[in-house]
Amino acid sequence: MRRGGSGLAAALPLLWLAVFFAFPFMLVGRLSLSDTALSIPPYTPRIDWNQGIAGLQTFARGLDIEAYARLISDTLYLDAWLSSLRLAGIATVLLLIIGYPIAYGISRCPPALRQALVMAVILPFWTSFLIRIYAWIAILKPAGVLNIALGALGLPPVDILNTEIAVLLGLVYAYLPFMVLPLYAVLDRQDHSLIEAAQDLGATPFSAFWRVTFPLSLSGAAAGALLCFIPMSGEFVIPDLLGGSETLMLGRVIWTEFFANRDWPAASAVAIALLATLLVPILLFERQQKQVIA
């Protein structure tokens, strides 16, 4: 009875992963090994199911790694890959610097206020993500809110829309909750008697923070950093809307290959390459989560 029940419970997530992850991943993987063709859909080879096993064999012979070879030979992809990781990396550092004081501040508030502040962190999710990014265009554009405010203060206008600065602003803004919440979770859970013990043993309030609170919150910082870094590396909407044509990020490269160039194999190869790169931080995240549980 029990075993059957737990088996069913395990089957559900497995089924979910099979349908919505493994199967699409195989499709993308197969596309990345195909060649472009002037047809609908625009790639070869395709499986001729009428020929049975022979059809599958013909199909398998048609697969090659040409798309991947192009990824290496054309520096555009390498540049986009490096640029994505660089922007995601800078944004992650900024998020840590901004998110930590916010999470720490909330965790030190009285309980009633804490709830309200956590709510406030989550509140932006109630508005469409796209609308919020468009709002940043309105803020950053040459005659936008930012420049009106700067003008009112007698300061020269800045033109940062369509630059990496705008992309970083957008990334930091959009991902802040994903940094604050895991940090808040560890800080809130922290046993307050540890801080008292540190102070009791002669640590000043700052020293107690630095030697006890901070090292014990690193697991939350790691979780937040990975939770932000991984999706930011593949981010498409923010660089597309806020970044200029010179902002190269892999998300945009995939979009361009797929929709503008109709080069599905190249787009798929880029997607797989990105996933392979992100596997490193994802595995790190997994390991870190296991440590937290242990």
Binding site: A197, Q199, D200, L201, A203, S207, A208, P215
Partner: protein
């Protein structure tokens, strides 16, 4: 050990509180602390002396923990002041007080090794690096934790964690060590061992310890003096034997050990005070104003249980056994007397009596000497 006699764990000649010239190490003067409308500590006056093992005993919510936290510096008094060696430390933050605490759940730093935990206070004190290692080793061997310096707290047993917490608090050599329910997380057997170890450590270091506990046995075993607290106030301070044998009121008598109480009108008697209660009229040593309501208190082990009627005399009750509990060393009898009340009498099982002579429904006679009972007027 500072020239104190030690007989069977109790230092009978150590009593600085009886010396009017002795300067207390810690002094609470009219200290009060309220949380909202609740007064946790009310105008407490208390002196603790160098080298003393002092216990704060009381039920949960009596203010004993707040009193300890006031001394550690985690709370500040609303009124009154706290002196350490004559210096007012009321407004001194915890990290500047040479007072360390062993926390109830130990509060060991999970990210530091055992040695790192013990060294924490030494480093904050600015002890030179070259000295920290030997001092940590010294604490490890004192606490019988040799070889465990590299372990993390979560790799230790409950008893080992407790020792690490004690070592960590002792390492910087505080003027007074505070222990907040230190044995609450240990099982009974380990708790008893630890109590004796704690006393041995306190004696060998000659340090002043203050323990907060709700466990009267624990307080009786370890402490030189006990302060009984109720509703934020100290009801009685004294040696364990004083608290047990001469409680100041019914609360103390009932909180420390079991007691049988007879309520009645007090009358003068050559042997002390006679209390005329529904169960009979009994005599005990003590002081009461004739005519006032008084309580005669007698502990179960001071009542003799007889299977045959004793010769006529004072302080005798007839009844029958309704229940008994055989504890190995003691047997506790519940005896119902004529008024229907049940009294408790305990008898040491001095001989092996496998064919127990007394059992349920057996008629018995209870007697006690006037000097074995006390008169309470509160």
């Amino acid at each position: 050990m500072n020239g104190r006699a030690q007989i069977g764990g109790i230092r009978s000649s150590f009593a600085p509180w009886e010396d009017p010239a002795a300067k207390p190490l810690v002094r609470f003067e009219g200290v009060s602390r309220a949380f909202g409308d609740t007064a946790a500590v009310r105008s407490v006056d208390l002196s603790i002396y160098e080298g003393e093992f002092f216990a704060l005993l009381g039920p949960s919510g009596c203010g004993k923990t707040t009193l300890m936290r006031l001394l550690a510096g985690f709370e500040s008094p609303d009124a009154g002041r706290i002196l350490l060696e004559g210096r007012d430390i009321s407004s001194c933050p915890p990290h500047q007080r040479p007072i360390h605490m062993m926390f109830q759940a130990y509060a060991l730093f999970p990210h530091l090794s055992v040695a790192g935990n013990i060294a924490f206070g030494l480093k904050r004190q600015g002890v030179p690096r070259t000295e920290i290692g030997p001092r940590v080793e010294e604490m490890l061997s004192l606490m019988k934790l040799e070889g465990l310096g590299g372990r993390r707290p979560d790799q230790l047993s409950g008893g080992q964690r407790q020792r690490v917490a004690l070592a960590r608090a002792l390492a910087p050599r505080p003027r007074i060590l505070l222990l907040d329910e230190p044995m609450a997380a240990l099982d009974r057997k380990l708790r008893e061992e630890t109590q004796f170890e704690l006393m041995a450590v306190q004696q060998s270091l000659g340090m002043t310890f203050m323990i907060v506990t709700h466990d009267q046995d624990e307080a009786m075993v370890v402490a030189d003096r006990i302060a009984i607290m109720r509703a934020g106030e100290i009801v009685q301070i004294g040696r364990p034997a004083e608290i047990y044998e001469t409680p100041v009121d019914r609360y103390v008598a009932g909180f420390v050990g079991d007691v049988n109480l007879f309520e009645g009108r007090a009358e003068a008697d050559p042997a002390g005070v006679r209390v005329v209660s529904p169960e009979g009229s009994f005599v005990a040593e003590g002081v009461a104003t004739p005519g006032q309501t008084a309580w005669l208190a007698v502990r179960p082990e001071k009542i003799a249980v007889h299977a045959e009627p004793p010769p006529p005399g004072e302080n005798c009750l007839a009844g029958k056994i309704v229940d008994y509990g055989y504890l190995g060393d003691w047997t506790t009898y519940l005896v119902e007397v004529e008024t229907g009340r049940t009294l408790r009498a305990a008898r040491a099982n001095a001989t092996r009596s496998v064919d127990r002579p007394l059992g349920c429904d057996d008629p018995v006679w209870l007697t006690f000497a006037p000097s074995s009972a006390v008169i309470l007027t509160r």
